[in-house]
Symmetry: C2
Subunit: 200 residues, 2 copies
DNA sequence: ACAGAATACGAACGTTCGTGCTAAAAAGTC
DNA sequence: GACTTTTTAGCACGAACGTTCGTATTCTGT
């Protein structure tokens, strides 16, 4: 890895941290350059445009997300244990990744949902992939017999995402210490509702 | 109502619409002045500072929210019917209010959760009040015997908010037509889980 | 109709925005 | 160690940002 790629990665690490506080659209080249300890134009040269920088930040965020949420969950047994691990990793990942603020992907989802363009597309694709992988974990839980066979997987994922979103709002906006416990309670209720009947 | 107050209200109506597309922090005085058909300085004089304008927009959004979500729900019988009305009104209110984008309060919640200051405080207070009123409706449903007496009201509201948030993300980011039906399904499942036993 | 107040405008402020251009410094290659 | 390529800094640009100020216009009460 040449010097260029090295500093590029360092920039992106700072960028993720900054974006988690001010959002992806609030990420300005000048402020990021200051934080990274280099000149505006020097930093700019790595990306060529602000939009390209935003896309790079999103890609990097997604990598980190996979690293902190999906990868460790693979150690758990397919089915409910893995699904539960996914959920708890998801609820804690920004903290584990030492981000000072919110999940950049989620912030960007709110900022760009009405701004057509490449950034919006990337955000949508990123979150869609997250839902897809979550759906896969749910499907495995069904196949393992941990959830009822007639479970509506998309609906299940839909509700999981809702639990995550409200937990983040409660935690970040209201500083509610009970946010994660409440989210886990909601998760367990959801699972209980889809428990296979005993005789199966 | 003098001329001043009149145009001030007109400005705020435009501001809510614009904020629903670009967010409350993305709301710039110049762009709003263009949209309102007046000069930057003329508009600015109505508020004295950008922050004051943002606070006015939030207050106005909250009024509109109450008008479209809470007020019509009062026509329904206390208990489950009113709660259901609240939920459907909530899921559709931006459309009913003819906002071109998302709920400004929700956007602001994401933008300001890491930006200490008066705006953040106002957003938190606004959403907290929303949760409180929702909690009140849940409590009435418990008292009416529509929900189990041991219902954890805060937890119930928590899950309602989650349903709303994921519905908005699905609708706005993914243009998912099934978002509202899925949200209503989730709501009915939540209600079913808290149904009083038959013999009571 | 007229005086006084309220409201709106245009111009300009200093700053920051994203983005080029050019030259210096650093890194990689032989 | 010289040469080439890559990386960084410096400077400037036009535009937009929030804000101030002085002046013009429009409203309001009498």
């Amino acid at each position: 890895m040449g010097k260029g790629e090295e500093t590029r990665q360092a920039i992106l690490d700072q960028a993720i941290a900054l974006a988690s506080e001010v959002g992806v659209s609030g990420l300005s080249i000048g402020a990021l350059a200051d934080k990274a300890g280099m000149s505006k134009s020097g930093l700019f040269a790595h990306f060529g445009s602000k939009e390209e920088m935003q896309l790079a930040v999103l890609r990097r965020s997604q990598e980190r997300f996979a690293e902190y949420v999906f990868k460790p969950a693979l150690k758990e047994r397919r089915g409910l244990p893995r699904l539960r691990a996914l959920m708890t990793n998801w609820l804690n990942w920004t903290e584990k990744a030492r981000l000072p603020g919110a999940c950049p992907l989620n912030s960007a989802a709110n900022e760009f949902d009405d701004q057509p363009g490449a950034v919006r597309d990337a955000v949508a694709a990123g979150l869609a992939e997250g839902r897809r992988m979550l759906g896969n974990a749910v499907r495995l839980a069904v196949e393992a017999g941990d959830l009822r066979a007639d479970t509506d997987i998309e609906q299940f994922v839909f509700e999981l995402v809702g639990i995550e979103l409200v937990a983040m709002q409660s935690q970040r906006l209201f500083r509610d210490k009970q946010a994660i416990p409440r989210a886990l309670d909601a998760f367990e209720r959801l699972v209980r509702d889809h428990q296979p009947s005993r005789k199966e």
